[in-house]
């Protein structure tokens, strides 16, 4: 395993539009791709597309974020398939309607399980692999919704805030082995998740988002707003006094 060997990007939640666009970006730069998710038929199609367009190895791997007991074996399988350094793009997550989650505890618990619990267990299983290879990068999708809970989606926001806190410690641990961890606070991206919603501010395309994420993933780690406009916006929103914030319809 030489340092110049092309890495393999493990895409967790590979069917999402953002992961799809990022996989295109990585494959265009010559990286191999492992597509992890539940919809195997869809992942087969994506693997074919990546290998035809970019002439790189690409393969689907079954992965269910909620099936935490399977994560250790899953990671073992991925490490064996990669045959070289592994990078990770964590994109899975669900965003059911807040009101629905309030009514149905199963939906609420399912969201926490998928967005947070599942993320931590798969990251925990990945940590020794990443530490052993002494290189690589983990990119995880947080959300601006995690910066301050809003009536519209505070449970979703809470799962992303929890993930961020987890990643802070995770990043510090992995930094000792030369592995970088980048947590992106994503603004709304024009995907299936946001499609039915009313018009959202500063919406970006999956392709634009992926290009920005790729650039950030080339150097450093830590956290970053993407697109960057969300840094000033969220700085203001976070600093609003509660009295005012509670009256806002945002």
């Amino acid at each position: 395993m030489s340092a110049t060997m092309q890495p393999t990007w493990l895409m967790l939640g590979a069917s999402s539009a953002v992961a799809r666009a990022f996989a295109q970006e990585a494959a265009a730069h010559g990286a191999g791709i492992l597509l992890a998710g539940r919809d195997m038929e869809d992942l087969e199609r994506q693997a074919a597309d990546l290998s035809i367009r970019h002439d790189v190895p690409a393969a689907p791997v079954p992965f269910d974020a909620r099936d935490t007991a399977s994560h250790a074996a899953f990671v073992e399988d991925c490490a064996a398939r990669a045959g070289g350094p592994l990078n990770v793009f964590l994109a899975f997550g669900v965003m059911p309607d807040q009101a629905e989650a309030d009514r149905d505890p199963a939906i609420a618990a399912g969201m926490v399980e998928a967005n947070f619990t599942g993320a931590t267990t798969v990251l925990a299983a990945l940590a020794p692999v990443l530490e052993a290879q002494k290189q690589g990068v983990v990119v995880a999708l947080g959300s601006v919704a995690g910066d301050r809970g809003r009536p519209r989606n505070y449970l979703y926001g809470a799962t992303k805030a929890a993930l961020l806190t987890y990643l802070q410690g995770y990043a510090a641990r992995l930094s000792r082995s030369g592995v970088r961890v980048l947590c992106l606070k994503a603004g709304p991206v024009d995907t299936a998740m946001t499609w039915p919603l009313p018009k959202l501010p500063f919406m970006t395309t999956p392709r634009g988002f992926a290009a920005g994420a790729w650039k950030l993933a080339q150097k450093g780690g830590g956290g970053a707003y993407l697109p960057r406009i969300w840094w000033p916006v969220m700085t203001i929103i976070r600093s609003l006094p509660t009295r005012i914030f509670n009256k806002l319809d945002i």
């Binding site: 069917s15 869809d42 199609r45 597309d49 035809i52 299936a192």
Partner: protein
């Protein structure tokens, strides 16, 4: 008052239900921007979501919508529902030995050019914009500047996967369900949603072609020029539609052959037409000046250039949103094909009518077409094809009615991908297999779940 409140609440509840099922209220437009169609739209990113979109709320009708490059109301379904196929954009298979490729419906000609031209493969034929999707290419049986040699897009299709209105997904070809295959090629998305297209690419020796351009003085000169260029791989004529009298039909004839030597990739970034042009910007004088300049651009003695395929095939794609040039009211496009023989006189009459109307029409495109298409509603006929834009204005219908009449009398037909104004009566006369199309459509969609504004206008749907 309480009635309004109930209605408002009902509307809000309906909107909420649509949202939960992945539908969104949108307003879609044809490329000509002359009309807008409010409808519900789903934008599936994978097959599973596409299947779910067949479950249309409130018994609305459904229609697939691809690149949005059909000019008129063909891809619009006012008050109904649309499935946007643009995110289904994977290339599923490619055989470098045979050039066979399989794609999802949302893959565009731009994708094909980017991925396959560097490997020596080109789409078998292509319309004048690379933003057309493969689903749209089949549904309109599109053609290009090589039609006289290569035929239409449908001629190169081996099979299609079709999602029927009842949710079944089947493979159709000349061997399996041949009637439905012929109805779907050129079928305007009315037979179901195309989920995969298998077609054959053509090998090319480099990324460029040798393009010969020369000035043409008038229509007779043009027809003689096309006859002499019958062996050219690619040929197209640009006509100054405002020139009349002795200069009627003057323009530029371009012919092109694959070149053995390539060119460096065009570094040019695309520009976008930034705003809607104000309505006064396009008038007879400004367009006349533009057309004259365009004509003189080619030196008297003609010229030969090495051009990248992208530049030759898609000259207008360098300016994104060029349709905004026609301002808020948008424009209509007229394209017809006229059979050889009677077509020559009809072509002259069309140009005279257009020139006399004096509408600010930019360059018209003249092309020779070869064999008829395979689809029941395919456009192609052996003959001359003429296409031009006309800005929307009051009284335009009269001009279009004249153009339609001249086309019908010559035994020609109007291209549905471009059309927004053809009469139902004219359609049924121009497309003699329309009845057969309807029978096949009825067999796969007895309840009429698929529909479009164009289908209604032409008497194909209630």
């Amino acid at each position: 008052m309480s009635d309004t409140m109930t209605e408002e609440r009902a509307a809000a509840e309906a909107a909420e239900a649509h949202r939960a099922a992945g539908w969104k209220q949108v307003s879609l437009q044809g490329w000509g921007r002359s009309s807008a169609a409010p409808c519900l739209a789903a934008r599936p990113e994978r097959m599973r979501e596409l299947m779910a979109a067949l479950d249309v709320p409130e018994g609305r009708t459904l229609l697939p919508y691809g690149g949005g490059r059909a000019y008129g109301d063909q891809a619009l379904n006012t008050g109904g529902a649309a499935v946007l196929t643009g995110r289904l954009d994977r290339i599923l298979a490619f055989d470098p030995a045979s050039g066979l490729v399989v794609t999802e419906p949302g893959v565009t000609f731009a994708d094909l050019l980017r991925v396959f031209l560097p490997r020596g493969w080109l789409a078998p034929t292509s319309p004048g914009t690379a933003f057309v999707t493969m689903g749209g290419a089949v549904a309109n049986d599109v053609h290009g500047k090589n039609h006289h040699r290569a035929g239409s897009f449908g001629d190169h299709v081996l099979w299609l996967d079709l999602l029927l209105p009842d949710g079944r997904q089947i493979r159709i070809s000349d061997e399996e369900e041949p009637a439905l295959f012929r109805a779907t090629i050129g079928g305007m998305g009315l037979t179901g949603i195309i989920t995969a297209v298998c077609f054959r690419m053509q090998p090319v020796p480099s990324n460029a072609l040798t393009v010969q351009s020369r000035r043409i003085r008038n229509l007779d000169d043009f027809l003689a020029g096309f006859a002499a260029a019958a062996d050219a791989t690619w040929s197209v004529g640009w006509i100054d539609a405002l020139a009349g009298g002795a200069s009627l039909g003057r323009g530029i004839l371009e012919t092109a052959e694959p070149s053995e030597t390539g060119v460096a990739l065009p570094a040019g970034k695309t520009k976008a037409f930034p705003l809607e042009a104000p309505s006064w910007a396009l008038n007879r004088m400004s367009v006349k000046a533009f057309n004259a300049l365009y004509w003189r651009r080619v030196p008297e003695a003609g010229r030969q250039q090495l051009q990248h395929y992208g530049k030759f095939l898609y000259p207008l794609d360098a300016v994104l949103h060029w349709n905004r040039m026609y301002g808020r009211r948008g424009f209509h496009q007229f394209q017809c094909v006229l059979p050889f023989g009677p077509g020559e006189m009809a072509l002259r009459r069309l140009l005279e009518t257009i020139s006399a109307a004096g509408d600010a029409s930019f360059l018209a495109v003249l092309k020779v077409m070869g064999r008829p298409g395979r689809g029941l509603l395919s456009f192609a006929l052996p003959g001359y094809s003429l296409a031009l834009d006309i800005p929307a204005r009051p009284g335009l219908r009269g001009l279009f009615a004249s153009l339609e009449r001249i086309t019908r009398e010559a035994g020609g037909r109007i291209y549905l991908a471009k059309d927004s104004l053809l009469s139902a009566e004219g359609f049924w006369e121009m497309y003699p297999e329309a009845q057969r199309f309807q029978e096949i459509r009825h067999s796969v969609d007895p309840e009429g779940r698929f529909s479009s504004d164009m289908a209604k206008r032409l008497g194909l749907a209630a």
